[in-house]
């Protein structure tokens, strides 16, 4: 059984799919549907719409910060890994950044599946110990007087960062703000930049 060297993950994945499919335990078409959904429908554009709405509608912003899950659902976003979403605001003096040290918990309905850097052991291990250094490595330099809070997602609570609206965008309508809002800013490893 040991000839031929280690088995690549791609081959083992194919083997598992065959084994479950031939016994009728799964349907490959259902798998295709799940993959397509996360490749096309569930992604950071959802979160960007939430942020742009909050930047332009003070009432919505208030609801979002009070009950993130409900306010996000108003825009049609809910589902797996979004049972209870708490939204925290980044400002000129307070900075929140999200991590999951125990696995890679992430608010799927608003941000999609996590990017590779979020799942990387270095990020998971170091963000709770030296966030200012880690953020600097990732390209975000914060002034010394900015208070950092790291949000370690250890339960089913999921965190979404409401980034600071960049100066110089006051005249832009909601739909032109949406494309400015990045995934990285909604996790807290970047700021939103004016166009």
């Amino acid at each position: 059984m040991t000839t031929g060297g280690p088995l690549p993950a791609a081959l083992r994945t194919e083997a598992l799919e065959q084994l479950l499919t031939e016994r009728g335990l799964i349907d490959p078409k259902v798998m295709d549907g799940i993959i397509t959904n996360y490749e096309t429908n569930v992604g950071p554009l959802n979160g960007a719409k939430v942020v742009a709405r909050a930047w332009t509608d003070p009432q919505y912003r208030r609801r979002l910060l009070e009950d993130g899950t409900a306010a996000i659902k108003e825009l049609g976003f809910s589902g797996s890994q979004g049972e209870h979403i708490v939204v925290v605001e980044n400002t000129a003096t307070t900075h929140n950044v999200v991590v999951c040290t125990l696995c890679s918990c992430y608010p799927w309905p608003v941000l999609g599946l996590p990017p590779s850097w979020y799942k990387d052991p270095a990020y998971r291990a170091r963000m709770v110990k030296e966030p200012r250094t880690v953020l600097s490595e990732m390209g975000l330099e914060l002034a010394d007087d900015v208070r950092i809070t790291v949000r370690d997602s250890t339960s089913e609570v999921r965190w979404l960062v409401l980034p600071e609206r960049p100066a110089g965008t006051e005249h832009l309508p909601e739909e032109q703000l949406v494309p400015l809002v990045t995934r990285d800013a909604m996790v807290g490893v970047a700021k939103v930049k004016a166009p």
């Binding site: 088995l7 479950l20 993959i35 040290t101 999609g112 291990a125 966030p131 250094t133 990732m138 390209g139």
Partner: protein
């Protein structure tokens, strides 16, 4: 349990990787297949998301790290399916070898042994009819414990004192739910720890919040 998955504060990982804006959701086709297969395997094996996280927690270092995030999902799916006797422990490797042209005997299909378990409701949120044991602003200590089974109490906060920042909705307890030993619903608290409490006086000043289940916490006497 203590293992490779509990990474907070551990060293030796090198630098982080700067974000790339154009990264595809699945960088290789097998990763999407492994993702979908794992989600379906939780159901096929009659388990739950806590059992899935516990399966990841039990992986050895190589099984956890070598093929990245989706590799550990695949390996955890295999573990859940073998735990429920849907697959024999050698079934995936034997089939994979045959797929690449080796000729190996595949193990017989066994009688499934799914856990005797059904959730009381969908999701993890539950209602409880007692008030929260701790109040916002109260100082609490994360218990210094090292459970042999599943836990969501990260090692780096154990024994440390923080302040209740927010009371989150009550939820089932992963520590028992992962082992099908009951839901034990209880309040969850976002507890804020000062970096100097966790890492010593010379560390960068910052706060960390973690969501801790009520039974992870003790009052300061």
């Amino acid at each position: 349990m203590d293992g490779i998955a509990d990474m907070g504060g551990t060293g030796g990982w090198g630098p982080t990787h700067p974000p790339r804006g154009d990264e595809p959701v699945f960088q290789k086709p097998w990763q999407g297949r492994a993702f979908a297969l794992t989600l379906l395997s939780i159901r096929v094996s009659g388990r739950n998301v806590d059992a899935f996280r516990h399966a990841q927690e039990r992986l050895d270092r190589a099984a956890y790290l070598d093929d990245g995030y989706f590799g550990r999902w695949l390996n955890a799916a295999e573990l859940m399916l073998t735990d429920s006797a849907i697959l024999a422990p050698t079934a995936i490797d034997a089939r994979a070898r045959n797929l690449r042209g080796e000729h190996v005997a595949e193990p017989p299909i066994s009688e499934p042994a799914r856990p005797d378990y059904a959730p009381t409701a969908a999701g993890s949120l539950r209602s409880v009819d007692v008030p929260p044991a701790f109040a916002v602003g109260e100082r609490v200590r994360a218990k210094d414990m090292s459970p042999p089974g599943h836990t969501r109490l990260p090692g780096y906060v154990r024994g440390h004192t923080g302040v209740v920042d927010l009371i989150q909705p009550a939820a089932l307890l992963p520590d028992t739910n992962a082992h099908f030993l009951g839901e034990n619903p209880q309040y969850v608290y976002s507890v804020r720890f000062d970096s100097r409490e966790l890492w010593g006086a010379d560390t960068e000043p910052f706060g960390v919040t973690a969501e801790l289940y009520e039974s992870y916490l003790e009052a300061l006497s």
